[in-house]
Each structure stands twice: as structure tokens, then as C-alpha cells.
């Protein structure tokens, strides 16, 4: 039986003009409906890869699924090169899957890149690919977890840098007694914790950047910057977003062992200030619990999304929302404001992979594995999006010897500017799992100045370098009484102007 449920959701407190229709599509029968990747096709169909290895097409016209390929291992990303050729990130390799004889089913599984190591540890997921403006594919490789050891047979060179030797790292019934010495997450085979740059023919591969833990979300922004999200855990006080530059180290030390010429031993043992000084600082941070616990893939809103067009949104696994990204370049560094999106809708959690269809609809593939999340395919269709009342830009500026936020809106603000409140906080950079909030303080704003067209508010404050500045805009109203879609923003002030 086909389930086709529609929900029209509106915020209860000061309705937002725009709304989002959430359609849950039927699952393919007999298939574990956990979706590792989605790619909308130009003809309106959607390609999806599933937990147990199927690559299937969903046809919205018939509401039916058809199978294209199977037997893939934990695919966690898909990119369509054509309607009959797909690039899929499997656990063991980046694979091009083709229908070469035109019968509508895949018959070629071409290994593009399998030159990274596998210890056999369950947590060594592989994510991507994201296609760069240079035409290369970028993939990200998860570290191993000390929830288990490694297999007796591994793929790739073994690194001796660690407290435990290979024999001690092999999983056995006593693993739990040794696991602490492995490090919470580890990189004992090549390029775990790295972003790799791979040419489409696989002949050119470059270890691009390191310092990642569980880099689930990878994508490019409209300016060609590589964005990578990571997950709260060891060395991740809360889930970060990085703009990743070639050769950069992005904070989790385990992967440093695979840097060319690395001669500083077990990187986990280096002094924290030394690691802190080496690392590429966060472009954004998703406050754990408050905003997102496990952010995923970023995608760019197409032109049909009104004031959202050209902006980006990240999926989120644990909470019933996604997260919108508004960058701000300060002193040559790209930092950002992050805002909740789709709050109050029936979207649900488990929002893993995203792809915009030719009609502008946002396809969402859901999964959970053995964590929080959901299953199946969802489509989000915006309604009255052109009149949506949203924050469209946030800039941190110098104002005398202090700072000010210049916040731009898609509609004139008619009320509530005097009700803006906020606070700031940060998280520790440390080996322990997660972090409490630190340095919490209320923000004392100067009088907000509304521009003549009422679409811009300048909010004077004394910003704190490194802190997340939380600004609550829930009291703002548009002329028609609408509240903002996404009424709280979290600005990461890594740099001050």
C-alpha cells in the first residue's frame, strides 16, 4: 500500500508566511529503507543507495521503486554522472556504477579509488563524493572507534604510532580492557580522518586535508569552498564546520600520522596548545543539543527557493530540523552564522542526504544505523517561499572600538527589534569526549538600529573572539505579523574585525 501523507506546518507563535509541505514517500518492498545517499535526476526521478547495498530509482510519477544495482557495502553517498552512470562511496572504495548495455540495470562496477586503508573496524565509514569546481571528487574517511579493535587482516600499511601494537589492537573478548589505550578514535591505517581528492578516472589521488573524526557532511559552497562537518566527540567539544584548505589540519590529531614526513610520534600525546596552534579553526560550530548533534551533507538552495536561493543548508541526524548556513568573511577568514531550519514541521530526524530535484523540491534520504535517526525518503516542497521572512545575511563589523552585527532580512521588520536577546559561550578543545559549555555570558547589546527600508538591523555589542554568539530574534515580526523562519542564530566569531 502506498502511503502518501502530506503535512502543512506553520509555526504556532506568529505564523511564518512560508510553509513547507513534507511528503513521505513509500519504501521499496523488501528493502531495508535506510538511505545512505540520494541524487535527484534531471528527469524527475531520484536515485538512492540503501544500507544493504541497493541502488534504486524512485519515480514520483508512478510512486514506484526500481532496482539499478545491488551488493554495495554501506554506501554513504552517491553522485549522478549521467542517468545511467553513478559514482558511489562504499566502505571499501569509490565506485563508478554503469549500465553499459542499455538494459536499465548496472553491469559495470569500476573501482575509481580504493587506495585507503581499512582496519576492519566498524566505524571506518567513508563519505562523499562531493564534486569540486576543479572536477575532482572529494571523499572523507572516518576514523576507527575504540568501541572495537581491528581485524587480523587489514588493508593498507599499519601505523605503529600508538600505545597498543598491532596484536593488542586486534579485537578479542578482552578488548574492553585495552580499549582506553587505543584512543577514543584512531587512525592506524592510511588516511583515516582525511579528506582525499580523487580525479574522476582515479589516476590522480591527493591526500587533501586531515584532522577529521567522523566527517559525515562534505560539499562545496557556491564560491568553491570545500565545507566539511564533523561530529561531537573526542577533540570535538561540539560538532564543527570547517572550510577545508589543502594541507590543513582540522583538529582531531589521530590522522596526523599519515602526514608526509610526520616525525612527532603519537600525535595524541602532543601538548594540546601545540595541536591547537596547528589546527584550522572552526568556520562554524553547531551547539550540541541546542542546534544539532550530528550534522550531515550541505546543499545549495536553487533559484526557486526565493530568499534562500544560493544559500546552503545542512542535514541533521538527531533533531527534527536542518541547519542553514550564512557565511561571513572576516579578516580573510570565512566564519558563519548557523540557524535552525524546518523547525515546527513534520520533517522528523535522521536527515542524512539531500538533493534538490528539477522542480526545486528537496529530497531527503533518512537513515539511523545503530544511532538516532529515521528511515525512508521524504520530499520537502516550499509554499509561498518568495514571501518568506528570514535572515539573509549576518555580518560582524567593527564599530568604534567594539563590534556590531549587521543582520539583513528578506522582508521589512515591523516590530520586535527591542526584544533581541543573546548570550555567548564556547567549548573546550580537548581529548575528552565533548565539552561542557564554557565562558557563558549574556550579551549586552547597544540600541538596535533599523535601516530606512527596515530590512537591516545593526546590533552593537562587544563580541568575544572564538565564542559562539547566540542571538535570539524570536520577537521580530514582518509587516504581516510573521515570525522569522529560523529565529535564533549562532554566530561563530573565530575572527574579530
Amino acid at each position: 500500500m502506498i502511503r502518501h501523507l502530506s503535512y502543512f506546518a506553520a509555526l504556532t507563535l506568529g505564523a511564518s508566511a512560508a510553509s513547507f509541505q513534507i511528503d513521505r514517500l513509500p519504501n521499496p518492498s523488501g528493502v531495508d529503507p535506510q538511505i545512505g545517499g540520494v541524487a535527484a535526476l534531471p528527469d524527475g526521478r531520484v536515485a538512492a543507495v540503501f544500507h544493504r547495498g541497493e541502488l534504486m530509482f524512485f519515480d514520483p510519477a508512478t510512486q514506484k521503486w526500481s532496482k539499478f544495482a545491488e551488493g554495495l557495502q554501506e554506501p554513504l553517498g552517491i553522485l549522478a554522472e549521467s542517468p545511467s552512470t553513478f559514482v558511489v562511496m562504499q566502505r571499501a572504495e569509490l565506485t563508478r556504477i554503469k549500465d553499459s548495455d542499455g538494459d536499465g540495470k548496472a553491469d559495470e562496477y569500476e573501482t575509481i579509488y580504493d587506495g585507503f586503508g581499512m582496519s576492519g573496524n566498524y566505524h571506518e565509514f567513508a563519505f562523499g563524493p562531493a564534486k569540486g569546481p576543479d572536477g575532482f571528487y572529494y571523499i572523507s574517511l572516518n576514523l576507527g572507534s575504540n568501541g572495537a579493535g581491528v581485524r587480523e587482516e587489514v588493508r593498507g600499511k599499519w601505523s605503529d604510532l600508538g600505545v597498543l601494537d598491532f596484536k593488542q589492537m586486534v579485537n578479542d573478548p578482552n578488548w574492553g580492557k585495552r580499549s582506553k589505550d587505543a584512543g577514543r578514535m584512531y587512525s592506524r591505517v592510511p588516511y583515516r580522518g582525511w579528506v582525499m581528492k580523487v580525479s574522476p578516472d582515479g589516476k590522480s589521488v591527493e591526500p587533501f586535508a586531515c584532522g577529521f573524526r567522523s566527517p559525515e557532511g562534505i560539499g562545496f559552497d557556491p564560491q568553491g569552498n570545500l565545507l566539511v562537518t564533523d561530529n561531537e566527540g573526542d577533540w570535538r567539544g561540539t560538532s564543527p564546520l570547517h572550510v577545508v584548505k589543502r594541507g590543513s589540519f582540522n583538529g582531531h590529531p589521530a590522522s596526523l600520522v599519515w602526514r608526509e614526513g610526520w616525525d612527532k610520534g603519537d600525535p595524541r600525546m602532543l601538548p594540546v596548545p601545540e595541536l591547537d596552534a596547528m589546527r584550522n579553526k572552526e568556520t562554524g560550530r553547531f551547539p550540541q543539543g541546542d542546534l544539532a548533534n550530528s550534522p550531515t551533507q550541505p546543499v545549495i538552495f536553487p533559484a526557486s527557493w526565493g530568499p534562500y536561493a544560493g544559500q546552503m543548508v545542512f542535514g541533521e541526524m538527531n533533531q527534527n530540523r536542518m541547519v542553514r548556513y550564512i557565511p561571513d568573511d572576516v579578516g580573510g577568514f570565512r566564519q558563519c552564522a548557523l540557524l535552525p531550519m524546518f523547525d515546527g514541521t513534520a520533517l522528523g530526524n535522521g536527515n542524512h542526504r539531500l538533493s534538490f530535484g528539477p522542480d526545486g523540491g528537496l529530497w531527503v534520504g533518512k537513515t539511523h544505523l545503530s544511532w538516532a535517526g529515521a528511515e525512508g525518503l521524504v520530499k520537502i516542497t516550499p509554499k509561498d517561499i518568495d514571501t518568506a521572512f528570514i535572515v539573509t545575511s549576518v555580518k560582524l563589523e567593527k564599530a568604534g572600538d567594539k563590534q556590531a552585527f549587521r543582520i539583513h532580512f528578506s522582508q521589512p521588520v515591523s516590530a520586535g527589534a527591542d526584544g533581541i536577546a543573546g548570550n555567548r559561550f564556547s567549548y573546550l578543545y580537548r581529548q575528552d569526549y565533548g565539552s561542557p559549555k564554557i565562558d557563558e555570558a549574556a550579551l549586552a547589546f547597544g540600541a538596535p538600529q533599523l535601516s530606512e527600508d527596515k530590512r537591516e538591523i545593526v546590533l552593537p555589542l562587544e563580541a568575544k573572539q572564538g565564542a559562539i554568539h547566540r542571538i535570539d530574534l524570536a520577537k521580530l515580526r514582518a509587516v504581516d505579523g510573521s515570525a522569522l523562519e529560523g529565529s535564533v542564530l549562532y554566530y561563530q566569531a573565530t575572527m574579530l574585525p
Partner: protein, 277 residues
Amino acid sequence: MSCATALAADPPAQTFQTNCSACHSVDHVLVGPSLVEVAGIYRNNPDGFVQWCLKPEHKRDGFVDMPSMAHLGEPALRELHAYVIAEASGKKEQAKSDTDPFAAPAGTVRRPQVMRIFMPDASPAAIAVALPGDLSFCFDASECRLRYVWKGGFIDGWPYFKANGSSLAKIDGKVVYHEESRPFSFGSDKTFVSKFLGYRTGKDGIPTFRYRIQSGATVEETIRPLPDGQGIERNFTGEGIMFSEDQPKDAEGTSNTRVYLPTPQQPNSVNLTTRWK
């Protein structure tokens, strides 16, 4: 919502959702134990619950250690204790169903079939293949060679799927043939450093594996069941490859392998037939 300031404490349901629900569900084990189980341990011991949350220790082998929840603060943890007890009230631990909800009924394995999954006695880059009949084999994409053949059903992938790969798939059958190493060499290429290139499935659904050997030549390998089901025939094809005439060893005295060398009709092709008793 009028008092929704930044520093107001969240209600315990919200605290649970944002801090705990990724790992704890009400009535079944997720990453950590269920609320039913937690309530059973701490129902009359809120202090113990709070202490555990502030400073969790390694408790269960095979489980990931819980991170400290000290950032929530003791008052919130006490509220959380009450919430956990209330949520678990009247609920029962879901019997651990160890059956695969998507398992094919016995005897209905689709053949042929290719499945990449963690397999025993192989590298983590293993590929399981079900052949027509009752034979299946494990090909290792890291070493580019056959590892073993089994007879019976295909695989039970549930141990792997239910735990994201922290367990291996199980072989549903009996291993009838096992190879410690490649049964012959390609010319002087004794070390057999090779690079996996992928596979292609034929119209009959049987995969042909492709790999590049040290000389730079590409080899294609196809494994088919013998018509009587008592062995396999392997075809190796590759342009300009010199196959040595080494007779493969009969490793365990349980099999009998014959090599059919290239013929003028098929100068780039070798067939290898392996039977077992």
C-alpha cells in the same frame, strides 16, 4: 514561551532528546542500555544515577563508554532520573529479536548474486558471490584472489547489518575449498602485488573481476560452478600475460586442480578447474 531565555533550564524531556536519545531508547538496546534497564538499576538510587552520569566508567565490554554528562549539572540530572523512571514505567524490554526482518526465506537465495560485506577469513575488502547451484565463494578485493568456496546457502548478513559492521557476515554452509595463496603465478610476478579494478556482471549475472598485476597488465577472472556442482572452473584472461606452468599445490589433499593452458584459439586465456572430494 515568554520566559524562554538563553539560560533557562530545559525540561527533562528536551534534555533527554538532545543529550541522551542518540544512544538510549525506551525499550531496547541502542548504543547503550534501554531506559527500562537503566530504571531497573537506578529506580531507588537517584544518587547513583547522578554519580554515573557525572563520571561514567567502563562497564560493559563490547559497548562504547558513555561520555560524562557533567555539563548538564546535578539538578538537571536529578530531573532526568525522574524522567527516565517515568518513561520506563510500565514498559518492558523488547525481547532481543535476533532475526533479520529482511532475510530471504530459507532456500530462496537469489543466484547468482554479488554482495560486498565483511566476511570471515578475508581482508575487510571482501566480496561474497552466490553462484548458480549451491556453491558460493569469497573473493578478496584487497589481495585480488579467491579466498574460499562454500556449499549450501549464501550468507547471513544480519550480524553485520544490525551492528554497522562490528560483526562479520556468517557463512550459511560448509567451506569446501580454501586457498592460502594464488595457485600459480603470472610469469615472473611471484609476489602478486595487484590493484583491484572492479567487476562486470555478465548477462548470466556472474561477475568477472578485473585487476592489474605488477607488470601493468590487466587480468580478468571469472569463477563458475562445474556442471556437476562438485567444483569450480576459473578463467583468467589478459592480453600479453605469460602464465607460468607451475602445477598448483593440492593444499589440503581435499581438492584436485587442473590447469588448461592457453591454446592457439585462446592465446590469452587460462582455465583452472578445481574439484573437491
